[in-house]
Symmetry: C2
Subunit: 327 residues, 2 copies
Amino acid sequence: MANIQQIAKKAGVSVATVSRVLNNATSVTPKTRSKVEHAINELNYEPSMLGRNLRNSESRQILVLLPGISNPFYSEIINGIQTTAIANNYNILLCETDSKPERENIYFNMVKNKLADGVISMDPTVNMKKLKKLAEKHPVILCSEYEKGGSIPYVTIDSELAAYQVVKHLIRLGNEKVALINSDEKFLYARLRRSGYERALKEFNLPLKSEWIYHTKNLDFQQGVQAMRMLLQLEEKPSAVFAVSDTLAIGALKAINLEPGHPSIAVVGFDNISFSNMTNPTLTTVSQPMHQMGCLAVEMLLSKMKNEKVDSIVLEHELIIRESTMG
Amino acid sequence: MANIQQIAKKAGVSVATVSRVLNNATSVTPKTRSKVEHAINELNYEPSMLGRNLRNSESRQILVLLPGISNPFYSEIINGIQTTAIANNYNILLCETDSKPERENIYFNMVKNKLADGVISMDPTVNMKKLKKLAEKHPVILCSEYEKGGSIPYVTIDSELAAYQVVKHLIRLGNEKVALINSDEKFLYARLRRSGYERALKEFNLPLKSEWIYHTKNLDFQQGVQAMRMLLQLEEKPSAVFAVSDTLAIGALKAINLEPGHPSIAVVGFDNISFSNMTNPTLTTVSQPMHQMGCLAVEMLLSKMKNEKVDSIVLEHELIIRESTMG
DNA sequence: CCTCCCTTTGTAATCCGTTACATTCATTAT
DNA sequence: ATAATGAATGTAACGGATTACAAAGGGAGG
């Protein structure tokens, strides 16, 4: 592959001029420009990004940190990220951490090494202390999971309110025994959703029973199945269940379907992943604007890169009522 | 961030020596090495990948081309790719083409630009002509979708055989009217699965009815729903359906569930995505070793990069029988 | 004590674009 | 015709690491 010198030579100009043509700088005579373009076509030249990146000290890559892509929730956000990134001439470096700290280290180093110009973290399992350290010197945006009152800008929804609305909806349908399938409460979103759950129960003077709160290890379907099985074994069974993720909720539906007698238990999920409309019954859930969140995260990151002031954003969610809460 | 010169100065050695320490070259005195390491720690130095990459003329990045990550089939392959890539000090550049040629161009240029050292394509919609052109000068591996008799090495399964086995299984269960929900037959896998479908029917002397073959626009659930609706409107309804993707099959199940009278129609999918075990009824499907496919694709690519001869691999699949074919 | 040889270390070229600054060229005003 | 002005182009330094080759250091043998 040819380099810029060869083009310059072939076109009978200097490398500076070639560079100017490449970057559509002004001040290049049409005649010169066409000479250069000719040479470029002739030699089939493509400027080396490696050289350019070194010189410009940027990689035009965005690191996207997430625990894993098996949860469709992330796929849709990534879609938004990718679209906006490409539109701005950036590429995304996908990093599934699998919640392994050693992977995190690898990726954080890539940022320090300038292999990525900024980071969008959607990983609730991220080591926030390290991330904050990184954010002191590099642009970082949190997407979905965030840190309250922290220094890193985020784009998210109001999880507490959403959970409150979900549970209120269940109560209004006549459910006095509402269980919560929550994930590990080391995650902020889990604490917030629990808090919303409790607020609604208190508001209606319903008792808070600790047996009705189940904590899962992760968000896999199977965890939802297991959680629901536990709840179904209780002496006093809940009549409704709020799961903090659609994947868990779908698992819960499965467990209910497997139960002899098919007990009628209302189920609500969270995220509105595309599957949630395919289950039987279809799943009532909270819709997050995932695509938009991805787009905004990139825009915020780009602003941050330009050293502009970036404010956090809380987007609107929506309760999507489907069959799983319609008896 | 410090550079190698500053380390050299601080440690009182030359840049060459620092570089040797960084790359654990032999022939560095323990004393010198510790001096250098000291300086590195002192200044918190991280070697710049940009400089290194330029010099080495490699990016240690692998481009992964796929139509989109919304289909969980791809997520699992990516997981395998990522694990193996990281183990070999590579990173993956995720490229959802959304089946848009202009995106493809962007990404192909990245390879020419050395922003990626090789390509793993899982995109059936890829422009094969361009990809082959690219493969002449750069390492390329096809994963899942491939080209028969083409020059690019691939890792895949025997789709024709799998489809044949699926349909045979359905026939043995007593189904004489087996429909096929296929995707666009411009894709090789679609042609192969159809071919397997036809082979089984012929073997049992069953008629091939063109009304029983439905072609979808893509693999979204909704397409499966629509396909099944069409099939249910036929005068002579099929008693079983083979969908070439779990997502389509799940849509088909949905459509059947929505139908008044809940007709009993056997359904088989393809891919064994994790959700296929959560549907009601659970879905009979063909399991592809997705994780392994991803791992192998990377290993093949690494071999190719070392200019070793790389043979294509056809992996074993497995028919997973679940409730959707159990009456 | 000197030479030879091997190991460790240093020097400088190289990878490829970008851009500040210098230079050339053409045009307009005087 | 000449100076002044501005536009177009060229020169060379620079970003940060790697490595071929050169040089220096150290030890052994005579």
